[in-house]
Symmetry: C2
């Protein structure tokens, strides 16, 4: 292993001079600098990361901006677990995690974070890096994007892309998900050529893209009708009734239903309340515990998954590599589209 000492000896200077050259601190005579650089080249010196971090001793503060873990059926536990795993694996003692939870159905909590970090010009509170799940309105996203750009804060988005921003993204291509769902619908339907997509919860570009890709591809492989249903903003018994009302119109017609997010349980419930006789295959998204159980019971027929835990893991890993080792922070990481059936759901559960 080549060290600064070797460089110093080889160039006939002291450690301090080598240090100045390495860090461009100036105050080095041109010819001396040339000699040092030559030695660095010749011996192909690489700084020892461990020594560097030990000496430097800086503690990197990483903010995690994520919806409340319990919301969305507990979905956010998964990427969060992945991040924890990544951090504990690196067991770098110079990383400090600071998690801010927000309510994606009440954007104020999200904006509070943005304001606290950016408006207050609170240099002290600024983190060294940011991991975020930007599942809020485009307007709110833009505010955060500005903040990130202003402070050139190293950031990575997971689950969804941050609008108007070039920061790296770790997640799934929603189009591919829609295509796979269409294929599964085709395999599983037994009657009719018409199918339906159901989008529940919030307006979300990710979900729209899935539904659109489904329709597009379905028409390519089956030339049938696609009913696109959606029911946004709401909850409680009224919501379930409304949903049942929507589904009533198509229950006799559709050969399969694609639920674009993790709410497949609601659709199952609605169909069962309508007392449909025949089996309508349902394809859902994301392996939450309740979804997994419905899948095992045969009340959901397939689930598409996007490796939520790996998303958190890879995002956290990429950010720390950037902060600690100066690795570049550029390319996206795309998750494969995973198909989960009753037969392999157990093998995914432990994940």
């Amino acid at each position: 292993m080549i060290t600064v000492k070797d460089i110093a000896r080889h160039a006939g200077v002291s450690l301090g001079t080598v240090d100045r050259v390495l860090h461009n601190r100036g105050k080095v005579a041109p010819d001396t600098e040339a000699r040092v650089r030559e030695a660095i080249q010749n011996l192909s010196y690489t700084p020892n990361v461990h020594a560097r971090n030990l000496s430097h001793g800086k503690v990197f503060v990483i903010d995690v901006l994520i919806p409340h873990l319990e919301s969305d059926g507990g979905y956010w536990h998964e990427p969060y677990r992945g991040m924890e795993r990544a951090f504990s694996r690196l067991n770098m003692s110079n990383l400090e995690l600071r998690t801010s939870f927000f309510n994606r159905y009440d954007e104020q909590s999200f904006l509070d974070y943005v304001n606290a970090r950016c408006r207050a010009n609170d240099e002290h509170g600024m983190p060294d890096g940011l991991l975020l799940a930007p599942v809020v309105s485009p307007d709110a996203q833009r505010l955060l994007a500005e903040c990130i750009a202003t402070y050139s804060l190293p950031s990575i988005s997971f689950d969804s892309r941050l609008e108007d921003s070039q920061i790296p993204f770790v997640g799934q291509d929603p189009k591919q998900g829609g295509h796979v769902a269409a294929r599964l619908a085709k395999l599983m339907k037994d009657t009719g050529t018409s199918v339906a997509t159901v989008t529940l919860g919030r307006v979300d570009p990710h979900l729209r893209a899935r539904a659109e890709a489904f329709r597009e591809y379905w028409q390519e492989i089956s030339s049938g009708t696609v009913h696109e249903l959606s029911l946004l903003d709401g909850s409680g018994p009224d919501y379930e009734k409304e949903l049942a009302g929507l589904l009533r119109e198509i229950r006799d017609e559709v050969g399969a239903v694609f639920v674009t997010n993790a709410s497949a349980d609601l659709v199952v419930g609605a169909f069962e309340s309508l007392d449909v006789r025949r089996h309508i295959p349902i394809i859902g998204y994301d392996i939450l515990p309740q979804n997994a159980n419905l899948l095992r019971d045969g009340r959901i027929d397939a689930i598409i998954s996007q490796r939520p835990q790996t998303q958190g893991y890879e995002a956290a890993h990429m950010l720390t590599q950037h902060l600690v080792f100066g690795e570049p922070l550029d390319s996206d990481i795309l998750m494969p589209v995973e198909i989960v059936l009753p037969e392999n759901v157990d093998s995914f559960q432990s994940e």
Copy 2:
């Protein structure tokens, strides 16, 4: 940041004593040890990786025992890439990789490794750890297992389990794979209730288990016949003709075929040489480039994958964590059963 110094102060002992407790070096009075452990708990101490590596500077030699990367259609490239990724991610300058390739169709090359390491009593050449893909005969496996036990060499097997050995395993449960294949066969067949499994290449407990699980589960969900074909040891044009001969007998009868390893391309070729009119769905194993292409062309209908790259990654990671940080080396890591269709094959390719 909590350091050993803090622990020492808190427990009222010196750094040396803390060190002895941390590394189980003994020579510590029971009550002292208790105090130290309590302090470690209370302050939730985590060792600083950088200091640790900087300090001990030991180079760990890790042997990798794997079939030639080009064999089996290039399959072994995948786990190998995963291992490389794990090692480079840890960018520890104190890990040295030593790869031994063997020919799984000529066990001598495998035995050569075992002899070189164990018979010669060559303490010097012994590695600090071993990663192996034990895809050889049970006898050969047993020899290596003995060697590992004798030297109590920290080892991890991937892809397949090492027989007569308790070393950790990173790979897939073959039963689950068979079950998923049966479900896919059921979804994809359009006529008849009879199906077939095809096992090519070597006798392999992993493949037998897949085929058996397939049969078992098929009879549960479909009550039809399962033709179990196998054709071992061989290659060249004769081999393809033999295979075609086998398949001729069932071509008019089967509704789907499950190829238990990565040789689905041979089955496709054989069927095409037989000039079968109707489409017989084929379910294969492992995404090799040629398999992926056949899948895209619709000549294979589904592929089951076992995250080969992740297998290598996790095995390498577990071993290094054990060597460098003394983490335990006990539990297996099971890979999920992944279903690959033409629509999501691209999302797996980059893996």
